[in-house]
């Protein structure tokens, strides 16, 4: 470069790029930053049975972890709730990942024609044309004591008593979650798989890799970004859920989302906000660890 282009605005920075970025910045500010800040601020407020008191107090956080330092008497309520939520989350994550991966693998590598692949992919998304709640509630007549599944099991003689664990149990909650969220894993994983050059699979075969070795050493490493994105979806959705756990668990299973919802219904907004802040911190931590393991930006 022998000469640099003349600088038309020697003083100050150009305005146009800032204006171009302004609409999105405004939207994010209004719908993302502001609610988060409001939650954080309210979590420091005080409250009585009938009023919110603007304040800067640690009361909500202190009450949340009351008795948690004393492990001798067993886990405190908050820890037990988190543990229950994390356990559900882990089960749902394991199943959605397994099914999502298997479905994507089938679509990406076993279906040869593009038309067929797109058709089957659309079939996968078809249930999403109905609402979450309806898809969830439609499990109830299937799984209940007098439900279709129990009737079938009794009539075929597999069991002689109606099975209670089918509904309002961990089983039904995980089942509903897996049903609702498997697609959230399938889509990013499918996307990752479709980007894999088919010649890599032949190259692996040429190098003497068995089917499982190809899967483990080639397909899974190259699908990791999709798996991480899918996992983030599932973890975020399950950790914050209260409807599915409430309906499918018969309001018997503890979850953080449920706790927040109950506090909201008693107008204990500051306490709910404090719970939300802690939950947000935990989920962000999980995501931070996962994105540290795999660079998903490379894929986006």
């Amino acid at each position: 470069m022998s000469s640099s282009p003349p600088d038309r605005r020697p003083m100050g920075r150009p305005v146009a790029p800032l204006l171009q970025a302004a609409p999105l910045a405004l939207v994010l500010l209004l719908f993302f930053v502001f609610p988060l800040l409001a939650t954080a601020v309210v979590s420091l407020w005080n409250y009585t049975e009938y009023s919110l008191v603007p304040d800067v107090t640690q009361r909500n956080y202190v009450e949340m972890f009351e008795g948690c330092s004393n492990l001798g008497e067993g886990l405190c309520t908050t820890f037990r709730t988190y543990l229950s939520t994390l356990r559900l989350c882990a089960m749902v994550w394991a199943f959605t990942t397994l099914f999502g991966f298997a479905i994507s693998y089938f679509l990406a590598f076993h279906i040869r024609s593009d038309t067929m692949r797109m058709a089957l992919f659309l079939v996968c998304t078809a249930p999403f044309l109905t609402s979450n709640v309806i898809r969830m509630i439609s499990w109830l007549p299937l799984l209940g004591r007098e439900g279709v599944v129990n009737q079938f099991l009794i009539s075929t003689g597999v069991v002689d008593q109606p099975q209670d664990w089918l509904l309002f149990s961990d089983f039904s909650v995980v089942l509903a979650f897996v049903h609702l969220y498997t697609l959230f894993v399938t889509v990013p994983v499918f996307n990752s798989m479709m980007r894999i050059d088919r010649r890599l699979l032949e190259a692996a075969q040429d190098a003497g890799a068995s089917g499982w070795q190809t899967l483990w050493h080639v397909v899974i490493p190259l699908t990791k970004p999709g798996l991480v994105i899918g996992s983030i979806f599932v973890i975020v959705l399950v950790m914050g859920d209260f409807v599915t756990i409430g309906v499918m668990g018969g309001q018997q299973i503890a979850s953080i989302g449920k706790v927040i919802q109950v506090q909201m219904s008693y107008l204990q907004f500051p306490a709910a906000a404090a719970q939300a802040v802690v939950l947000l911190g935990l989920v962000l931590l999980v995501i931070a660890v996962m994105t540290r393991l795999i660079d998903i930006r490379r894929e986006l």
């Binding site: 032949e202 190259a203 692996a204 075969q205 040429d206 080639v218 190259l222």
Partner: protein, 317 residues
């Protein structure tokens, strides 16, 4: 061997014997079955009928890795998530060779292709020519008896292509193993091969040394595909004459009349484009001195002639 896809015959009764240690080029236009033939050799396609023998043992029932062949894929198919070293060591890893041992072997292969310094790079961080050498090292690490190369130079820019081509030939000579190289470029085949196999529509059109195939095409297709020939229909039949052996004579002389359309300077001489009586397009290469002695311009009528021994009668298709 024969390969059918549904009703379509991709490779029709291919009968080819490649002596050990030969650099063999399967040459032909796209869709002629050359890649399918290579993939059958590699074991990525199963032949519909026929046998494949390597060192006199039947390999057509064996999986790719047990055939004693190694394949170098078009655009190389390097594993993007593995370093060069791990790419080269991949097949050893699949066999359960311990890390220290397989890395030592892989390093040795990378040294052979002069890429040892880049062992820890990912494929995306390498140039096209370097990727090609990693692919070569990966293919060679299993000591194959035959290396199968699918359009190995097509992913490179023209400048690199020439250099890498020379490298391939050098490796083949030094290693002394059989190379089977699929290409659609006759330049590549002529420059590299000991044995050129020209294919068309799933059949072998002609095979021989590069000189034999270029200098004495058997058919009009071979003459046109190899280039450098004028295909001319004479009363006694179809013939080919090399463009550099085609002489321009005064009108009325020679075997066929033609009209000059263009005279192009090529640096080493002139390429004269000619139009025949039936609108055929021919070329004659004329050296500078001859052109200066007898200037030519477009529109001029000439006669084409050649020496008796330069005439190559062609089989009718």
């Amino acid at each position: 061997m024969t390969k059918r896809f549904g009703g379509a015959v991709a490779v029709d009764a291919l009968d080819l014997k490649i002596p050990a240690g030969t650099y063999c080029c399967l040459l032909g236009p796209s869709g002629c079955g050359k890649t399918t033939s290579l993939r059958m050799l590699a074991g990525h396609e199963r032949q519909s009928s026929g046998d494949i023998l390597l060192n006199n043992s039947e390999i057509s029932g064996l999986p790719p890795a047990r055939r004693g062949t190694a394949m170098m894929f078009q655009s190389y198919a390097l594993f993007p998530h593995l370093t060069c070293l791990d790419n080269v060591a991949f097949s050893l890893r699949m066999r359960g060779v311990l890390k220290a041992e397989r890395h030592a072997k892989a390093r040795e292969m990378l040294r052979l292709v002069e890429l040892e310094a880049l062992a820890d790079r990912l494929p995306a961080q390498l140039s096209g020519g370097q990727q090609q050498r990693v692919a070569l090292a990966r293919a060679l690490v299993t000591n194959p008896a035959a290396l199968l190369l699918d359009e190995p130079l097509s992913a490179l820019d023209p400048f690199l292509r020439g250099r890498v081509r020379a490298e391939l030939k050098r490796f083949q000579r030094e290693l002394g193993i059989t190379f089977v190289h699929v290409t659609h470029s006759q330049d590549e085949a002529l420059a590299l091969a000991d044995l050129v196999v020209l294919m068309k529509d799933g059949r072998i059109e002609q095979q021989g040394t590069p000189f034999e195939v270029f200098d004495a095409p058997r058919t009009a297709f071979a003459a046109r595909f190899m280039g450098g020939h004028n295909v001319i229909r004479l009363p006694e039949g179809l013939i080919a004459v090399r463009t550099d052996r085609t002489r321009l004579l005064p009108p009325g002389a020679g075997a066929v009349p033609a009209t000059i359309r263009d005279v192009e300077y090529t640096g080493t001489g002139y390429a004269v484009t000619l139009i025949g009586p039936g609108r055929e397009e021919w070329t004659a290469l004329v050296d500078e001195a001859a052109l200066r002695a007898r200037p030519l311009e477009s529109g001029q009528a000439v006669g084409l002639g050649w020496d008796r021994e330069d005439l190559r009668p062609l089989a009718e298709d």
